[in-house]
């Protein structure tokens, strides 16, 4: 069982408020990823859950028990640190056993538990080495092993892959996913890497400046970002956000116009909007298509041919920058003028407050 519930968690350091009331329910066995730009409070939140720090307000409960005032050790959680935090003066075996020795397990049991964890993570070969003699990937495995060996109610992982090189990161990511599948233990994972977040998460928590911006399944967040921040944060390259004006509000769509002949009908529920309102149109770079005659005229400034796709950097007539990812190796090798067309159904519309204009309800279709 590893059900964790956060209610109105606040944390401030002196006058500086870092977390402004976080509410989050994490179900048993769930893989929750906290993402957000650096300084958004996600690591602080993780430390609060771990019990390494205590909140200035709010309640943390694990499996229905209030643990807000309970020490880190007594919460039964395990944490994997960004720097691995392996004890440098102990061998890998001693590192794994340290936590078990502290709860005074019998020697034989410690031995069998460490052996099992070592086998699971394939670190048996270097059990007698010290962390200084291990590579980054091996250290990472040991750090995870140290968490696994204690059979915790939940794992807390604080940017565990950020010190690995790109290749190792991909393989370790897959291993963490496999580990979660096998153990079926709750995992809370902090990262600022959205690819990690997208691939690992059952549920995705986007944070900004100490607040939760949106919670949901990864693809839901990608397809229906709740606000401009989430829209801009998720997806690489970033979503293009174009300042436009509403020209017409119809029953099942809102038409926006912009410079360069931009005029597109977005199928959203525009009942709260009226013609003339300033709105932001969100277009994912992959949803832009090059076109000879129709669409919005842009001035191409840079073309990056990556092989399977071509990234086009362009500017609109009023200077707003756009990035488009066109599939294939189209002959767009030079700068100049071009037209982009887009499909209304794949667009996102945000009102002047930066909130998503509600999608059409099924009944309205």
């Amino acid at each position: 069982m590893g059900q964790i519930s956060l209610q109105g968690i606040q944390r401030s350091y002196g006058a500086l408020k870092v977390l402004h009331g976080i509410d989050l329910e994490i179900a048993d066995g769930e893989f929750v990823v906290l993402v957000g730009p650096s300084g958004c409070g996600k690591s602080t939140l993780l430390r609060l859950i771990a019990g390494l720090d205590s909140p200035t307000g709010g309640r943390i409960s694990i499996n229905g028990t209030d643990v807000t005032k309970v020490s880190a050790a007594a919460r039964g959680l395990a944490m994997v640190f960004q720097s691995y935090a392996l004890y440098p003066h102990m061998t890998v075996r001693q590192n794994l056993a340290f936590g078990l020795e502290n709860i005074r397990l019998p020697k034989a049991e410690i031995e069998s538990l460490t052996a099992e964890a070592a086998r699971m993570l394939e670190i048996e070969a270097y059990l007698d080495r010290r962390p200084g003699q291990l590579s980054g990937g091996q250290k990472q495995r040991v750090a995870i092993g140290r968490a696994v060996v204690r059979n915790p109610t939940a794992f807390l992982l604080d940017e565990p892959l950020s010190n690995l090189d790109a290749e190792l990161r991909i393989s370790t990511r897959a291993e963490i996913a496999a580990l979660h599948k096998r153990l079926a233990t709750t995992m809370i994972y902090v990262t600022h890497d959205q690819i990690e977040a997208m691939t690992l998460a059952d549920r995705f928590v986007v944070m900004r400046s100490g607040k939760i911006e949106q919670v949901g399944k990864p693809l839901d967040l990608y397809n229906h970002p709740a606000n401009l921040f989430v829209a801009g944060f998720i997806g690489a390259p970033r979503m293009n956000l174009i300042e436009t004006v509403i020209s017409e509000v119809a029953a099942h769509s809102v038409t926006v116009t912009g410079p360069g002949g931009l005029a597109v009908a977005v199928p959203v529920d525009g009942s709260a909007l009226k013609a003339g309102d300033r709105v932001t149109l969100g277009v994912r770079p992959h949803d832009l298509a090059a076109s000879e005659d129709k669409g919005m005229a842009v001035n191409v400034s840079l073309v990056e041919a990556l092989g399977p796709e071509t990234v086009v950097h362009a500017a609109m007539a009023d200077g707003q920058k756009l990035v488009a990812v066109l599939s294939g190796q189209g002959a767009r090798s030079s700068s100049g003028n071009l037209r982009f067309s887009m499909e209304g159904a794949k667009l996102h519309l945000f009102d002047s407050q930066g909130q998503r204009v509600p999608d059409l309800q099924d009944s309205n279709r």
């Binding site: 430390r47 771990a50 019990g51 390494l52 020490s71 880190a72 050790a73 959680l77 395990a78 944490m79 640190f81 960004q82 720097s83 935090a85 392996l86 004890y87 440098p88 003066h89 340290f98 936590g99 502290n102 709860i103 140290r146 204690r150």
Partner: protein, 350 residues
């Protein structure tokens, strides 16, 4: 060997001598003489007899009178070069001396006794060690007891110093509490107060708690060293907090974190402090002199002082026992100099 030779003969000017080569040699040799000269002279002189110490001009190396065993005499006899009345010189052994006249015999012809004016003879000397300078104090004058006291004081004080200072440093480096910086400032501030300023009040305190004239009276007041706390704190600041957090997640108590994580990781700094503490406590003189009054509690440094009386200074014993007291400190420096230099570099203290 050729490597050493080419290193020693290397010159800045290539084949020719550059003036900096000469300055360097003069400087280095001068430094060697200034630094090692006294130590070597001390060691050499510690093997001289009192008479030889009083000699002028002094010799660097210790000499003893050459002795021969002569038939019919139990003890070996001192050998002298004697200028005979006929102008020849002979080597004769002294049997006894009465006033300025010595009765001497030829070792080859022990039957004949020759009377010689002592002005006419010069002792035959050879390089030799007056080991009784060492043997007598160690066997008869309680110096082994002083040595034991010194070793006890040094080790007890060092262990307590390491323990208490590392605890203080742990708290000051790894916990946040109000007034932490003030506490550190006060601790470091005490560095500016020399012992002579607090000698009298400290004596009153030690006397009041009943530690006067006991070895613990010299150990306890010295164990809390601001240098040690500061040095260890600076080192512990470099131990990442994440390690402590990891240990907390691993169910470690704060004591276990200190004992099993922080202390082993601070070993290099502890080694430095241990070296310093050994040297400090071993060389302590003033405070033990004040606290100790019973002779059987004297440490080496205080014991040495007993040879310097008001009327008579027993230089030969002082020199010999100074060498004895120097040995542990020299050994510490020889074998642990790597730690000492890193400690001085790391803390800016010595």
């Amino acid at each position: 060997m050729s490597g050493v030779a080419s290193f020693l003969t290397r010159r800045r000017g290539g084949k020719a001598w550059h003036w900096t080569d000469i300055v360097t040699w003069v400087w280095l040799i001068g430094g060697l003489v200034i630094m090692f000269g006294p130590a070597i002279w001390l060691t050499a002189s510690s093997f001289k007899s009192p008479a030889q110490l009083a000699e002028f001009p002094p010799t660097v190396l210790p000499y003893v009178n050459k002795q021969v065993t002569v038939e019919g005499h139990e003890k070996p006899l001192n050998l002298f070069t004697v200028k005979m009345a006929d102008g020849t010189t002979r080597q004769l052994a002294e049997v006894r001396r009465i006033g300025i006249v010595a009765q001497m015999i030829d070792p080859a012809n022990p039957g004949e006794v020759i009377k010689i004016n002592i002005a006419e003879r010069v002792p035959v000397r050879e390089l030799g060690l007056a080991t009784e300078n060492y043997v007598t104090p160690l066997q008869q004058n309680d110096f082994l007891l002083y040595l034991r006291n010194s070793v006890f004081v040094t080790f007890a004080a060092t262990i307590i110093t390491l323990l208490t200072n590392s605890m203080a440093a742990f708290a000051l480096s790894k916990y946040k509490f109000p007034g932490r910086d003030l506490v550190l400032l006060i601790i470091v501030g005490t560095l500016m107060v020399p012992l002579s300023v607090v000698l009298v009040p400290l004596y009153s305190v030690v006397n009041a708690v009943g530690l006067f004239d006991s070895l613990w009276g010299i150990i306890l007041p010295t164990v809390a060293t601001p240098t040690g706390v500061f040095l260890l704190r600076q080192y512990m600041l470099t131990i990442p907090d994440e390690l402590l957090d990891a240990a907390r997640m691993d169910n470690a108590t704060e004591w276990q974190i200190y004992w099993r994580i922080v202390l082993p990781l601070a070993a290099p700094a502890l080694a430095v402090l241990a070296i310093f503490s050994v040297v400090w406590r071993w060389n302590d003189f003033l405070w033990p002199l004040v606290v100790l009054s019973r002779k059987e509690l004297y440490t080496l440094q205080v014991g040495l002082n007993t040879y310097a009386g008001e009327l008579n200074v027993q230089w030969h014993y002082i020199l010999a026992m100074t060498v004895v007291t120097m040995i542990p400190v020299v050994l510490v420096f020889v074998f642990l100099q790597k730690f000492i230099t890193s400690g001085i570099a790391g803390s800016g203290l010595k």
